[in-house]
Structures are given as structure tokens and as C-alpha cells.
Amino acid sequence: MEASESTDHVNYLNNGYGVKSWLLTTDHKRIAILYLISITIFFMIGGFFALVIRLTLLSPEGTLVSADTYNKMFTMHGITMIFFFLIPSIPAVFGNFLVPMMIGARDLAFPKINLLSWYVYIVGGMFTLTAMVMGGVDTGWTFYTPFSSGYSHTNVVPTVIGVFILGFSSILTGLNFIVTIHKMRAPGLTWFRLPLFIWAHYATSVIQILGTPVIAITLALVGFERIAGVGIFDPNIGGDPILFQHLFWFYSHPAVYIMVLPAMGVVSEVVTCFSRRKLFGYRQMAFASMAIAVFGFLVWGHHMFVSGQSVYAGMAFSALSFLVAIPSAVKVFNWTATLYKGTIRFQTPVLYAFGFIGLFTIGGLTGIVLATLPVDVHVHDTYFVIAHFHYIMVGGAVMGYMAALHFWWPKMTGKLYSEGWSKLAALILFVGFNLTFFPQFILGYLGMPRRYHIYPPEFQVLNVLSTAGASILGLGYIIPFFYLMWSLRKGKTAGDNPWNAKGLEWLTSSPPPTFNFEKTPIVNEEAYAYTDGVFEEDVAGG
């Protein structure tokens, strides 16, 4: 059956077709699509760099690219993946699309600022891309001084300007979410009736608001230092390079929670929907999100255990790092408990959500290993760290992103994708992922340092395994691209609520009309009030 372009209702997609109607739109849903396209492009660029990295590491002599090129590859891989893909991924795409809808609003509080933040993102991206095209940067995504400020011969200045500008995009998005969630909830939608996706985005926004300005000013100072030739991080005049690290990680540790909290929000939505169950421990989950956002700011020094920071500060940061793991633990346990006595349907989004839970657990627990001072002394700046954060960021956050993409794709486009292909892709991703990054834990404990394009030959076998995994992983990312594109043209019409899910976004049509709802919804039940036969007492009681 050919599904014809459904024109039975005016929706945000068919409400104007010209380029202008997209580039000047203030509709949060269209802006979400703009972001979706832009971050996909950056993901491909970042993935391309990753492939070069992995191919170089096939042989211990690293003959594929020169040392300088390799250094640029991992730097630009880290910068694009972190700043231009993962930080905006879920918030700017799904947050933008869903936050107003989930709270029953017509749009975000400041639609023009929302559009502005996309342009700011693009301008920042252009600076960074230009820097890459003009020859790249080689400082590592961490921009440590004095290398970045005095010794690197590459395009550091345009890159930091790009990241500086990008920061304001992130800040503006966070600002918009905070105000929207505070002021624009539908009647009856109290704080403790909000979906956890909203809580997660609120917590994320807090981090964006309070963390991002610090990295902005820090990178600005590095930029000045390069331009003027002197600066406050310059050890030649008494400056302390470790101060830079403090300022950098004051943002960049909380930033890892910018990446993972929204994914956690997605998992909460998906797990409840596909187990037909109210979320276990709703309040604890909400508090845990906020706790992660606050405690996340207290632990940055765990990146500096061998940096020459004071021993006592190291201990304080280590203790605090253990504390921040507790709310994450609460979350993992609550998701698992939600499955207990549920009615579980195995559809693609929930497969990704399970992938998230499992891989995040491994990644998080290896974070505990890193927070353990003496062990970190050994594994700091080795592949153990690389494996840790890819487990959380690729295994966790990107899986969460894929879950979101598959869960809300029918809502965004009105079309269904192929279940068979999407399950296959999920499986390939899971296998490829583990094959890529598990060997890196071993490599790391053996002592293989990161940011090395050549290495002692005894590490080769594990590296080859990892590269093999990366090719499978790459394939796994290409398949969704095709079946999702295919669904746009040939996919079945989705209907308003294909998963039979709760949540205000499912009450409106797919794709939603420009102002989301015909009539502002009135909320009189808690989130995730799934009642289909799961709660015997509920059924009995009413």
C-alpha cells in the first residue's frame, strides 16, 4: 500500500514549504528538525574522524596518517562529537520538539531566541569547520595550556571562537527550557505530574545555564593568550596551567551530565511505555535528576588526580565523585524495578533503552574505578578512560538518542519505519559497540596511553579487534539512515499514538499542528498512568 502524503490536516510540516518558511521559522518543532539535520551532519563528520583513528591504529607503526594528522583527527573527533553532536543532540532536537508539547504549551517561551540559538549554533559550527578545513587543530578536545596557548601551530583561535559562540547556543536553549517549564505548564500539570523527560531537561538546563559561561570565558582567555602572546595561564610569568584545568573541568565535568541526563529522561519514557507500567519511584527519579545536576558540579577535580593538584583536594574530589554516583545508581535500579510485573513489548525503542541501561551501568561503574584515586593514577590518560566514556557516551547517551529517535519518529514525521530493519540495526550496534570498546578496557589497564598513533606491538591484537568492532558499529549507524529515509517516502501512516503511550504529546495528531494542540489540554492524572491490566489493585479499585 502506498501511503499518500496525508493532507487531511494542516501540520507543522506542510504549513509552508519554501526555504524561507524553514530558515525563518519560530516553530519549536521546525527548529528541532533544523537541529536534527545539523547534528546528523556533525555526527557523520565526527564518525569519519573516528574511522580514520581506528584505521590508523590497525598497525603499531601507525602508517596511515602522520603524527600531526592523527593528533588533529582525535582532537576534531572529540570536539565535533562532544560540542557539536552530543551536547545538543537530545536537548536541542527532542527537547525542542517535545518540551512544549509534553507540558501542553503552544511553543517555548521565547521562540525567536530559540531560532537565534540555532543560528548561533550554525555560526559556531562554521568557525570550527573553517578551522578544520584550513588545516585543523591538534590540542585535544581539552585544550590544555600551555600547549594550546603557546605551542600548538594549528588553528586554535578560530576553534575556540567557534566553541565560545556555540556555548551561547547551549545557554539560550537552557534558558528557554527553564522559563518554559516554570511558566507554561498546562492547567493541572503540577511539578510532580511532569514526565521525567521534562525533569531531565530541567536539570540539564540548570547545568547549561551555570556551567557553560565558565568554559566560554576560559576559552576566551586562551584565545587572548594566543593573540596577545601573554596570558594568565603562562608559567613563564607565574601563571598556573592547573588553574586552566580547574576552569575547564568546572564546565566539562557537569557537561557530561548534559549529555547523559536527557538520555535518562528518554529511557524513563520508553521503559514505562513498553512495560505498560507506572515508573517505579517517580519522586526519587525526579530528585535524582536534580541531585545529579547539583552534585555534578562538585567533582570536576577527578580529572586532575595526577595533574599536580594538591593531594587533599584530590581526596575531596574523589569522595564527592563517589557521591554523585549514588543518584545514578538509584536511577538504574528504578528502571529495572519498573520492569518487574510489567507487560513488556519488545519494540525497537525499548531495545535501545535496555542497551542504555546495560552499557551505562558498565560505563558508570568503570567511572567508579576512575574515581578511585590510586587506580586512576595508573589508568589516567590510558585507553581505560577512553573505554569508560565511550561506554557512557556512545553506549549510553547515543543509545538513548537512538531510542528517542525511534520512539518519537512517528510523532515527528507521521510515518512508521520497518520494525525488522530497525531491530537488526539495534543488534548490530550493540555487538559492534562492545567489540569496539571492550578491548580498550584491557588495553588501558595494560598501560596503552591515549592519543598515541603508534604503540608497542604487543597491543596490536586488541587494537585490531577494536577496529573490527568499529567497522561493525559504523555499519550499524548507516542502516537507520536508510530505513528512516525510506519511511519518509514509503512508510505506513503512523496514527496519533502508535505505541499507545501516555503523555500529552501523544494526544495531538502526528505530525502535530503548528500550535501543537487544538485546545490547551487539562491534566488531571500523574505521569505514566498506564492502566492496562497491570495494576491489579488499580483495576479493582477503579
Partner: protein, 317 residues
């Protein structure tokens, strides 16, 4: 041919202690990972759609359970923290009898000086069973002195001295890596640590890498060459204070504060003499910032140190 190493050699006293902690952590990881994996898989099969397992009594709130899974991880991590902190502290406090070896990192090599005067590049010879303290500094950017077999690692920072100590327990050759990204040649800034029997080490010291002059005697030479002696006379008649017995003592400054004359202080006194001016003296000492390199600086310090040992009590500041 396919001999895949899975675990690194333990070749220092620290290594086994770190590994023990690591194994404990692995136990915790495996336990919790298994718990979650089994939980997710078991529940989702047992309660799959269409299964006839009873759903009676499902709740979505249980404060006791929440407390349990908050408090248990908390206790576990705090236990780990106590254990880890003790070890971390020990890893930072070298034994009193540790021998010093000086290391300068620069793009992209390691320059190493033994107090006996031997110099080596990208190789570090150490005796078995003797605590060694490395005194590290960098000429340019941040590097990191990493010996996986010893489980030790320390950033090497320009403008400062950091230290790292170990006691080797196994004769052999081990990898030495620069673990802090430092530019083009980062991956080539590698070398070897060679652990020898103490008598072999003595032999090596007097062997071909020996220059004849110890570090402190080279330092003494520099002391004359740069004209330090003209002001720092041993009988305290020069324009500057006598440096005899200085090292490790408290120094009274013009501002009324006192500081301990450690390596960083000596270093600062030479490179930025006006930063901390000794009480009753004029800030007339010129800076030697652009004349002395890091290696020479270390020789001077070693010389000042040796003066300190000569007659510690004789100087009453």
C-alpha cells in the same frame, strides 16, 4: 605469535597494592553489572507481553527499597574511598631514604640526571629494591611520566617541580610513556625503565654514561661560571646571604613571612629573585631566567642541597 597480554607486570611495591584495590573494584563491578543484566533480562522475559506470570501486587513505590539501594552503594563507595585515600597518600609520600633522580621533560624527550652525574635520554636505570624519588619538571608544555609496570604516573609541569616515587621489585625492562598529550611527538616520547641489581647499578653508574662530575660538582662549577660566588660567599661577606645550610631551613622574608627553602623556593630565587626577598638583604640579585636551562637549574639546586647537608646547624636565621 598471537600472544595477547591481558594483565600488566607488577614490578614495584605499589603495583600489587594498586592491583588488589583494582580487583576489589572488579568484584563490585561484576556483581552490579550481573545484577542489572540479569534483572533486566529476567524480568523482560518473564513479564513479556502475553506471558501468564502473575502481575498481582505490583507497586510503583517502596521507600524502604529506595533507601536500601541508596545506602548500600553509599557504604560500598565510602569503604573504597577510605582504602583508596590511604594508598593514594602513601603513593605521594616518599620514604625518607629515597634516592633522588632528576627528570626534565621537553618536546619530545626525557632528559634524566643522576646525582652521581650520569645523564641519559629516554632511558632510566634504577636499582632493585631501593626507593627512588623522581624530581620532575618540564621545559615547555605539560608532559607525564608514566611507568605502567610500576603503576605510577605524574604530570610534569613547566614552572614547578612535581615528584613521583617507586621501589622496583623485579629486574627487567619496562615501558616508559609520556601520558599527557604534548604535541606532534607525544607518541614518540617513550622510553625504557631498566631495573638492575644494586651492584649492577653501581657498575652502570661508573660505566660509560658517567661524566665524571657529580650533579652537585657540576652545580658548583655553574655557581662560579654564573658569578653566584661573587655575592654568595660562604663567610657571609657578600652582598647576598650565604647558602650554606640553607636547604630545608626556614627563611625569614622582608615581608615578615617565613618560607621553607625547598626546591621550588631555590628555583624561584634564581629565576625570579625579587619574588621573595630575604630579610635584611636588598633585592639586587639579577634574574637568571634566560641564561639557565632546566637541567642546569637542577644541578644548581643539587649543589645548594649539598651545601645544606654540609653544616645544617651552622646557620641561624
Amino acid at each position: 605469535m598471537f600472544n595477547i597480554p591481558l594483565f600488566p607486570t607488577e614490578a614495584s611495591t605499589t603495583a600489587s597494592r594498586v592491583d588488589l584495590l583494582f580487583f576489589a573494584l572488579m568484584g563490585i563491578i561484576v556483581f552490579f553489572t550481573a545484577l542489572i543484566f540479569v534483572g533486566v533480562i529476567f524480568f523482560s522475559i518473564r513479564y513479556r507481553q502475553g506471558s501468564r506470570a502473575s502481575r498481582k501486587g505490583a507497586t510503583s513505590e517502596n521507600l524502604k527499597l529506595e533507601l536500601v539501594w541508596t545506602i548500600i552503594p553509599l557504604c560500598i563507595t565510602m569503604g573504597i574511598f577510605a582504602w583508596a585515600s590511604k594508598l593514594y597518600f602513601d603513593m605521594h609520600v616518599p620514604p625518607r631514604d629515597a634516592m633522588d633522580i632528576y627528570v626534565v621533560g621537553k618536546q619530545w624527550m626525557w632528559y634524566i640526571q643522576h646525582p652521581e652525574g650520569n645523564r641519559e635520554i629516554d632511558e632510566l636505570h634504577v636499582p632493585l629494591g631501593k626507593p627512588v624519588r623522581l624530581i620532575l619538571t618540564s621545559q615547555d608544555v605539560i608532559h607525564d611520566f608514566f611507568i605502567p609496570a610500576f603503576r605510577v604516573k605524574q604530570d610534569v609541569i613547566p614552572g614547578r617541580y612535581t615528584t613521583e616515587w617507586f621501589e622496583a621489585t623485579k629486574v627487567g625492562e619496562y615501558h616508559l610513556f609520556c601520558a599527557q598529550y604534548c604535541g606532534t611527538g607525544h607518541a614518540q616520547m617513550v622510553g625504557k625503565v631498566i631495573v638492575m641489581q644494586p651492584w649492577e647499578y653501581e657498575q652502570w653508574l661508573s660505566g660509560k654514561s658517567s661524566t665524571g662530575a657529580t650533579m652537585s660538582s657540576s652545580g658548583e662549577q655553574l655557581f662560579t661560571q654564573f658569578g653566584c660566588v661573587t655575592c654568595h660567599k660562604s663567610d657571609n661577606t657578600g652582598r647576598g646571604p650565604s647558602l650554606i645550610g640553607l636547604f630545608g631551613q626556614k627563611v625569614k622574608l622582608q615581608t615578615g613571612q617565613t618560607v621553607v627553602a625547598d626546591m621550588d623556593y631555590i628555583r624561584e630565587s634564581i629565576l625570579d629573585p625579587t619574588a621573595k626577598v630575604v630579610a635584611t638583604y636588598q633585592p639586587v640579585m639579577p634574574t637568571f631566567k634566560n641564561q639557565i636551562d632546566q637541567a642546569q637549574l637542577m644541578q644548581l639546586i643539587e649543589y645548594v642541597k649539598s651545601l645544606g647537608k654540609q653544616q645544617t646547624a651552622s646557620k641561624g636565621k
